[in-house]
Symmetry: C2
Subunit: 430 residues, 2 copies
């Protein structure tokens, strides 16, 4: 019967048919060891001359990497096999060949691999990363759905900017009109929260940042929950719950993939509540104590985040930054109005920010003043002001970047491996 | 204790606190009936002078629509109430006011409402639609996840066109480079399927069509499964299973919303397998028998689809269209090479196409010839040709547009109500 490699344990002792590709091959005289992949996993298939006959045996000795192959064989438990099982091949059929497959088991440079990303994703390591990504996204959605949040998609085409205008991608719309690609669905999510209570949007966002760091993509996926009748504390609790749920789920369901990635899972097992919650003031003190030249009042840079995130064994929430380094829509701290009721969550191991959130401005008058202070055109924000004209309530939310979370959980050097087809400043192909 | 209206049945006889907004209000002398919404539902709250006292009672008589209000009250079952329960108000607090809320219970024109979409979504009808949308999307994801498909996101920024170039939105990328917004993730999904076996991508896609029909948005969400080692029959089976699963889930979980929408649920209950599967040839005959002037060889237009979809009581799969009216990447029918191994699924009740899919070209040589025939630049498709160079296998998939499915299930006149913030040719605000 047809079977998938990921289900192979259920078929012990049975005759199965695997539809896949040849990943690797080695021989020892009378036996060929074929490493076969089918997209769900990898298995070693043993071809012996005694079983398949002379002709097939000779054919198996000439199979090239990524040949499409259908293998018929018996499933046998073998404790030495990586997945615990091997296949004793009875027969096989070649579906199509593969000549000079460019990605060989030797080392390749990253540009070479990125140019061949459509093939690179066939490797065991990229397999593992993409399966972890799938699990992260599923865990995120389950987390919000189980808590009664409604998925309310926010638009990609936007007439106005959410966080500054210099990092927007313009699109040629109809009749010479320019629109922009969204950087964040937050403003719309606020409207959705006023309608539906607790919502989230989860889609691609776009940043035209001229950054070429290991943390930046021009196109990435972000989940943004937003809650009516909620405060900064609610955001910190929700963010903590989400991160714990996601990491736990990957540990539960994707052990095999983490092993392929040689991830130190003890670092992930340490991700338990409660996360340390420190004020920006305290963060500044930690940086200064560590000799980092940092003055109170500035935004945390990449290096600062790295230092802080290495200081803790689990994610750390840093709250109440100076309002001047944060966007216009944040509620001021009533006790110290120069601070914003915001929070960034930094992942450990030097990863840095994975979540940014805040309580949003509820006051019409204060919001109007902020728009003026930031030289934002009031007309474009009339609809956003409406949310304060008609039944304004305290509300709060955050955004979490998926590729950074996947990169952290997988232990990647660069977020470019955390998505099937990464887009960067100098990379829009394949 | 704090409670959500959707959970109110669990709180019968209890004292609860609802955080919400005033949706509507009427009075009968000594009693005010407040319709309160909290995003999860609507409930009638009874304010009597005897309970809340003179001052509060007078205040309740002046509450305006969309006032933010926290209501404390006792939950009482009442079979006459729409949700089966009412609230006997003990006390309430005004969080913030609402003056001259523009969307009143009277009728408004659709442009007026679309200009105020951020407020319109607070209405009971829009609430219901967006909750059905949430359920549809959740059902789609569960369907694929439960069957072992891996979510593999495809890029939004693409260098080449998937289906023609006239309906693409160009984006100003870095250094005067032009890229395009994806119309479909399919070509990338094929690469993902060769790596991961069975995959799906699910995200926004963009079509710069100058169409102003009730079926078109410039930005909409599409789910696209793709399977290695699969044929047209697999696609028809999968599509049928998906549609049945989605409709069943909405019937199971969102009865209340369908009632608000006054949807004839018997039409949805008829959506059972097997769906009729007819060839394009048969479809042409049905059209001609009905007096529609249609010649064999052309593509089905909107009117043709409407007629065909009214002919059946459930979705109908139409397969094997002439290859010339379909994109370049479809596998020809080996028995009649002038036909493509493709299928469109039309929803009933005159809705028309909700799914389009096909078996993809597996042969390198035929694909190369097709690219030439369609005047497509080979260089841009080298990576796509690689999928046929290295272990090509029969593979197949489809795309399903979410807004059309939501519109069908909700019984909407126009897909613009099927998403929180619709984008159309003349509509990119709010």
């Amino acid at each position: 019967m047809n079977a998938y490699i990921e289900d192979i344990a259920r078929h012990e002792g049975q005759h199965v048919v695997i539809h896949g590709w040849l990943h690797n091959r080695r021989s020892s005289g009378k036996i060929h060891f074929l490493s076969v992949r089918d997209g769900t996993g990898f298995i070693q298939a043993i071809v012996s001359k005694a079983t398949v006959g002379d002709e097939k045996f000779k054919q198996a000795d000439h199979l090239s990497q990524e040949t499409a192959i259908i293998v018929h064989g018996n499933v046998r438990a073998d404790s030495r096999a990586p997945g615990g099982f091997e296949l004793d091949v009875q027969d096989f059929e070649i579906v199509s060949g593969s000549t000079d497959y460019p990605i060989t088991p030797k080392e390749h440079g990253v540009d070479f691999l990125l140019d061949r990303r459509h093939l690179w994703i066939r490797s065991e390591r990229q397999h593992a990363i993409l399966r972890v990504r799938h699990e992260v996204i599923t865990a995120v959605r389950d987390f919000f759905n189980d808590r009664g949040f409604i998925l309310a998609d926010t638009p990609i085409f936007t007439p106005a900017a959410c966080e500054g205008t210099t990092t927007l991608f313009p699109v040629d719309y109809f009749e010479d009109q320019k629109v922009f690609l969204t950087q964040s669905g937050q403003l719309y999510a606020e409207a959705n929260a006023m309608a539906l209570g607790r919502v989230y949007n989860f889609g691609p966002v776009f940043r035209a940042e001229k950054s070429k760091t290991r943390r930046h993509l021009t196109e990435f996926w972000m989940v943004e929950p937003e809650m009516a009748y909620a405060t900064l504390d609610d955001v910190m609790n929700l963010a903590e719950g989400l991160v714990v749920a996601v990491v736990s789920r990957v540990l539960e369901k994707r052990r095999r993939e983490l092993k392929v990635l040689e991830r130190d899972t003890s670092r992930l097992e340490a991700v338990q509540p409660p996360f340390p919650r420190i004020s920006y003031d305290e963060a500044v003190k930690i940086l200064q104590d560590k000799g980092q030249p940092f003055e109170w009042g500035g935004d945390l840079g990449g290096t600062d985040e790295t230092i802080l995130s290495q200081h803790f064994d689990r994610p750390v929430a840093i709250h109440r930054y100076p309002a001047v380094v944060k966007p216009f829509y944040m509620e001021p701290d009533p006790l110290r109005p120069e601070l914003a009721l915001c929070v960034d969550v930094l992942a450990p191991e030097g990863i840095g920010e994975i979540i940014g959130g805040s309580q949003r401005l509820a006051s019409y008058d204060v919001l109007l003043q902020r728009l003026k202070d930031h030289n934002l055109p009031q007309e474009a924000f009339e609809w956003y002001l409406d949310l304060r004209r008609f039944g304004s309530v305290p509300h709060a939310g955050f955004g979490m970047g998926i590729e950074r979370v996947v990169g952290w959980i997988c232990g990647l050097e660069h977020v470019r491996e955390a998505t099937p087809f990464p887009r960067m400043m100098y990379r829009v192909t394949p």
